[in-house]
């Protein structure tokens, strides 16, 4: 029997998209607390305001993060959600699961929590949504002892890294995103579980510039797969596309009649650098002019493949607007090898240089992207021991407000006014 009337939420049970209301009601048959989730949410729909109190500091011993505390401000009405803490569970790389492990986690959560989840949080964690403080250690004990899975991150620390599905099921991945994500997560467990940073720090791994995990927008340090040599062309397959044997873009556009495939209009003319042309029925690419945007490869996946000299580009500093405005990550290192054999040594060197600097220089609650803006990209490049390159800018500066270091200028900054006046009297 429903514990509360939910006339507004009931309206979200109709329509074709899976209804979270229907799902919560079904779960309520197993766990009474779910009626209170709906009851409080209905009240929020009526009042048009949240009914969760500010903040909440809870956790498990040994860790400084991983659990987001939450308390209802109408707990008398909805005792089932008086405490409604969220447990972040570290997901396996690219979110492949067996039914066995998911059922194990569900079993713990049905006994000790609301039975509601987020699959998954935006950062990647498997989110267990809603439990009481006294259950937290019990849940952590069972997760670590019985399932063999740890908590994810929260607070001023390394948050849970995540990756695209990479080489597991994509022909474009330029490095092993899952191995890298797993290795980095395991290497920096201490930085993930015990906040030691000025603010949060996220790392994301995408296998190519299509960036399916949105690393360039959603991580402080983005590792995006790239290649250095020539795009591999299968000329027979190019002909296949021209003759209409293969659908453009793997068939992504098949729901509408866009006419016959036109390689000039759909590939050559859309290339951002104009570095492609046809010689007879042979496709030519001037690879030195290619910026590896992926468009031609996306359109003709059977004919074109990334080169074989593969690695990753490192971009740093993406963040949402608070405080100083949103940032997309800035290209810092054009190309590194991503080698599981040497435990991603080059990447770790970059990560640790970043952290060494930012942990000293970063202000309280200042994302690394803001620290770089405040202190300047030239200084950051020095810290990172990266030579300044034209690739570091979209365009050179237009203002002339240039800093010079004293040692860069002959004679230095120490000057004698008397000497100056000898030649240039007032």
């Amino acid at each position: 029997m429903p514990k509360h009337d939910t006339p507004m939420l009931d309206q979200l049970e109709s329509g074709p998209w899976p209804s979270f209301v229907t799902d919560i009601k079904r779960q309520a048959a197993k766990n009474e607390a779910c009626w209170d989730i709906l009851g409080q949410l209905e009240l929020s729909y009526k009042d048009k305001i949240t009914h969760w109190k500010h903040g909440g500091i809870v956790g498990v011993f040994g860790y400084g993060g991983g659990i987001v505390g939450r308390y209802s401000d109408v707990a008398k009405k909805f005792p089932g959600v008086a405490h409604f803490h969220t447990v972040r569970v570290n997901q396996p790389s690219s979110k492949f699961y067996s039914s066995k492990i998911l059922r194990q986690i569900c079993d713990i959560w049905e006994r000790r929590g609301s039975g509601m989840t987020n699959m998954h949080g935006s950062t990647g964690d498997l989110v267990l949504l809603g439990t009481f403080t006294e259950q937290l250690e019990e849940i952590f004990y069972e997760l670590t002892h019985d399932v063999g899975v740890d908590l994810g991150g929260s607070g001023g620390n390394l948050r849970t890294p995540s990756c695209c599905l990479g080489k597991a099921r994509c022909e474009w991945s330029c490095y092993d995103t899952q191995a890298a994500c797993h290795d980095i997560t395991m290497t920096y467990q201490d930085e993930l579980h015990r906040p030691a940073f000025p603010y949060k720090f996220k790392i994301k791994f995408s296998g190519c510039p299509n960036d399916c995990v949105a690393a360039i927008a959603r991580s402080d340090l983005a590792v995006i797969g790239n290649w250095k040599d020539d795009i591999r062309i299968d000329q027979a397959a190019v002909k296949g596309y021209i003759n209409g044997e293969f659908p453009a873009n793997g068939g992504s556009y098949s729901g509408r009649d866009w006419g016959a495939f036109d390689i000039k209009a759909e590939v050559l003319d859309l290339c951002p650098t104009g570095c492609m042309w046809m010689e007879g029925d042979t496709l030519k690419i001037d690879d030195a002019e290619c910026t590896r945007c992926m468009h031609c490869i996306n359109v003709m996946p059977r004919a074109l493949r990334p080169g074989v000299e593969q690695g990753a580009t490192i971009l740093i500093g993406a963040k949402a607007p608070i405080l100083d405005g949103a940032q997309i990550a800035t290209m810092i290192v054009p190309f590194i090898k991503m080698d599981p054999e040497n435990d991603f040594e080059e990447l770790k060197d970059i990560i640790e240089k970043c952290w060494d600097w930012w942990m000293e220089e970063g202000k309280n609650r200042e994302r690394i992207g803001e620290s770089i803006q405040r202190i300047g990209l030239p200084t950051f490049l020095k810290v990172m021991e990266v030579e300044p390159l034209p690739q570091h800018v979209k365009e050179p500066r237009s203002n002339p407000y240039v800093f010079w270091k004293e040692e860069e200028v002959p004679g230095g900054f120490e000057r004698d006014l008397a000497e100056f006046r000898k030649r240039n009297p007032m």
Binding site: I37, F61, S98, S99, C106, S252, L270
Partner: protein, 375 residues
């Protein structure tokens, strides 16, 4: 056995991280790891990947509400056990994927998904896939709108675009319930953003005991908060802050830092719409989304104004844009003045940037189109 509260550090296991991903690979994935040659989308929601070994992997993608119960997860597990050797995965947009290793196993899987009622097949190619979204009124303390309800209302209306591939390019819709923008709102084709429109209240009965005032002051992007003496309900003078209302743009970051500065308001709060962001590097560089509708009211449970606005933008884009063109690429090609005209969205001063680097967004050229805006 089990956790002992008397000896909390006894038998404690820490720093074990996530389980290793490889143990969850279906055999066809494990055997063809790094060997994939090409892929095709056979129909909306069904992908085929072909390996250099000749092996094939077929993937069926289904939509999910993200906020889901263990009962539904168990249904996913049943589906995986029945068709996929017990393996499944979740995507970066919170869809679910089931994989099989031969073409003749696909139809039964698709049929079972469609018969379930909560597992719509789709989300591939040039359509609208799942909406990346946040906690809203289900779990968060700083939202200006709900997440799950708005997403359900929008996806019901755009459902046909989830199950088809008829658009000029893929359209990424995202929602964040406040401008912390957890998720992808700042870089999405169409973004739904919860916004406040009233400055914070100041609770002088609690502020001294629950807030670090310097943190609240430093939390303001516009320097609108200053230390000040306040008077509590007993008439006593306390250390507090003032908010310069003329400088406050209602971001809510002071409330994030200080529980005594709440700003949520039923009439003040609502939704802004941003468009034209993208993440991929394909053709054009990644772009931020831009604010085109400054305010729509919160109107639960179905947010009709928001649903209508999103649908309108999507459909004008679908009709007008060229093949492969993302929403932002289209708007920039035709010019934002044409975007507003074609979408019949009133242009207001709220869309003109006035924050720090705003100048870069003003029009410093004689190049513009005469539209209905110029009388």
């Amino acid at each position: 056995m089990g956790y002992d509260p008397q000896n909390p550090m006894k038998d404690r296991i820490t720093d074990i991280g996530p389980p290793h991903y490889e143990q969850f690979f279906p055999p066809v994935i494990k055997e063809n790891y790094g060997k994939w040659l090409y892929h095709e989308i056979l129909e909306p929601g069904v992908l085929k990947h072909v390996s250099e070994t000749g092996a094939e992997c077929y993937t069926v993608r289904i939509g999910s509400a993200r906020l889901i119960s263990t009962s539904l997860i168990n249904d996913y597990c049943d589906m995986a056990d029945k068709h996929c050797d017990g393996y499944l995965r979740f995507t970066t947009r919170n869809n679910v994927e089931f994989m099989v290793d031969s073409a003749d196993k696909v139809q039964a899987l698709v049929d079972d998904c469609n018969a379930h009622g909560m597992m719509p097949v789709g989300g591939t190619g040039a359509g609208v896939t799942n909406i990346v979204h946040t906690q809203g009124w289900v779990h968060c303390h700083t939202p200006a709108t709900d997440a799950s309800g708005v997403v359900k209302a929008v996806m019901d209306e755009l459902f046909d675009y989830f199950t088809s591939m008829t658009l000029p390019a893929q359209v990424r819709v995202a929602l964040a319930c406040c401008l912390n923008m957890c998720g992808a709102v700042h870089c999405s084709d169409i973004a739904i953003l919860g916004v406040h429109r009233k400055p914070p209240l100041i609770d002088n009965d609690t502020i001294t005991s629950v807030c670090e005032l310097p943190l609240a002051i430093a939390a303001c992007p516009l320097g609108a908060i200053k230390p000040a003496k306040g008077v509590n309900s007993k008439g006593e003078e306390v250390k507090s802050v003032t908010v310069n209302v003329d400088r406050c743009m209602f971001c809510g970051n002071c409330y994030t830092m200080c529980p005594s500065m709440p700003l949520a308001d039923p009439e003040g709060d609502g939704i802004a719409i941003l468009v034209g962001g993208k993440i991929s590097n394909s053709r054009s560089a990644p772009k931020f989304s831009k604010l085109v509708i400054p305010f729509l009211p919160n109107n639960p449970p179905r947010w009709p104004e928001t649903v209508e606005a999103v649908k309108n933008i999507l459909e004008v884009y679908a009709k007008d844009a060229m093949k492969y063109e993302r929403v932002g690429e289209w708007a920039e090609r035709i010019g934002w003045e044409k975007f507003f005209e074609k979408c019949n969205i009133p242009f207001t001063d709220k869309s003109i940037d006035d924050y720090r680097l705003a100048y870069d967004t003003w029009r410093t050229t004689t190049q513009f189109k005469f539209t209905s805006h110029i009388k």
